[in-house]
Symmetry: C2
Subunit: 209 residues, 2 copies
DNA sequence: GCAGCAATTATTCAAGTGTATAATTTCAGC
DNA sequence: GCTGAAATTATACACTTGAATAATTGCTGC
């Protein structure tokens, strides 16, 4: 006569996805230490034991969650590219503006990013993921910089564009962090203007604001 | 006949400092979750109970540790300023180079910074500390930019220098992060050159490399 | 419908957590 | 040297953690 919790069977992929999403939510809200098996299970609407059924260990679940996070960030960036104009210069400007305004600028994403950054120095798997993600983003930026410079009839030799991509990437990262963490410090649209003008000076190029 | 651990009485300030240092070490090595009272006490060469004697709660100790960290970073930056040349342009170049090379670039500092970044979105006290630190650094950078522009006979109206300081700060932050976390990606001295050339273009100024 | 298998829940356990309290030891002042 | 107060250690406790196992339930194929 003990009343047991009623449940529904979901597919494996759905349950894994739900558990991963719940893990990311927990980390975003309370940091890694808040992502306990019980909290994750509660948020996923499931019992803690089920985690063991889909992931051998909690560490495996966290690793899967981080991989999902990185993939999503990359995909979001790639998806935004499709909506950008074809003209290389306008395209670069749109890409820059996109990187420093919502929804890319987002406190939750920032918290998740900080959590993963913390693991990178002492977890080789995490470092590999970070390195690959970093280089992919930077290479994409470098490609757009080269296209824009070529369109404007400016020189674009390899060592110079590499340096510009590294600096440009760093600039976007820094602006993204501060805009995400201290939104009240910047006026509406200010980040966008600052980023585009800074890139214009960096590349010695007129960029449409 | 139970043999008790022998100990020496240290002053209050020495013990508090030792506990704070031990806390920072633990966080740097294994993240916040590794900073348990037992691990901290062990690293400080002390018994866990003593923590309670100097800090009402572990949370208090962690807060004190973060405040110490921020203060140290600020002081380190200020100390380096004294060794810079008096000429505003050379001074700015030295400041930039300093920010993207060791010992400022440091995986341990980076890990600690990421740990505190993670707390900022959901802890108002941490956000206040971060905001104050960020603005102090940025204002100092803006002052140096203004001095350099004035020396070069360039215009330096307020809204423009604010934007340049925000962008310059973001650039230094981003380069510092990547240099700290992926040191193998950059050649010896490469970051320094990239940073100074990027600033030269940003400010339309010749900077000594 | 029903048999059986896999998904899910419930329960348990050992280890680790922060904190509170009691027992000792150090050391300064006389 | 002694004494007493404060610093430090030792011990205990209640709670949370991740994981392992047993019990049950939902569902698919016949």
């Amino acid at each position: 006569m003990t009343l047991r919790r009623t449940f529904k069977r979901e597919g494996e992929e759905a349950r894994r996805a739900a558990l991963i999403d719940a893990t990311l939510d927990c980390i975003a809200e309370g940091g890694p230490q808040a992502a306990t098996v019980r909290a994750i299970a509660l948020k996923a609407g499931v019992t803690p034991g089920l985690i063991k059924h889909y992931f051998d260990t909690k560490e495996d679940l966290v690793a899967a969650a981080h991989e999902t996070l990185m993939t999503r960030l990359t995909e979001a960036s790639a998806a935004a590219l499709d909506d950008l104009p074809a003209d290389p210069i306008a395209r670069l400007a749109g890409f820059i503006a996109n990187a420093v305004t919502p929804p890319v600028v987002d406190p939750r994403a920032m918290a998740l990013w900080a959590a993963s950054m913390q693991l990178v120095p002492r977890d080789t798997a995490m470092r590999d993921v970070h390195e690959a993600t970093y280089l992919a983003f930077r290479d994409r930026l470098e490609g757009m910089i080269v296209d824009a410079l070529r369109t404007a009839g400016k020189p674009h030799d390899k060592p110079a564009t590499r340096a510009l991509a590294i600096a440009g990437n760093a600039l976007l990262d820094g602006l993204w962090i501060e805009a995400s963490v201290l939104p009240d410090q910047f006026a509406q649209g200010e980040m966008r203007t600052i980023a585009i003008r800074a890139f214009a000076r960096l590349l010695d190029l007129k960029l449409p604001e």
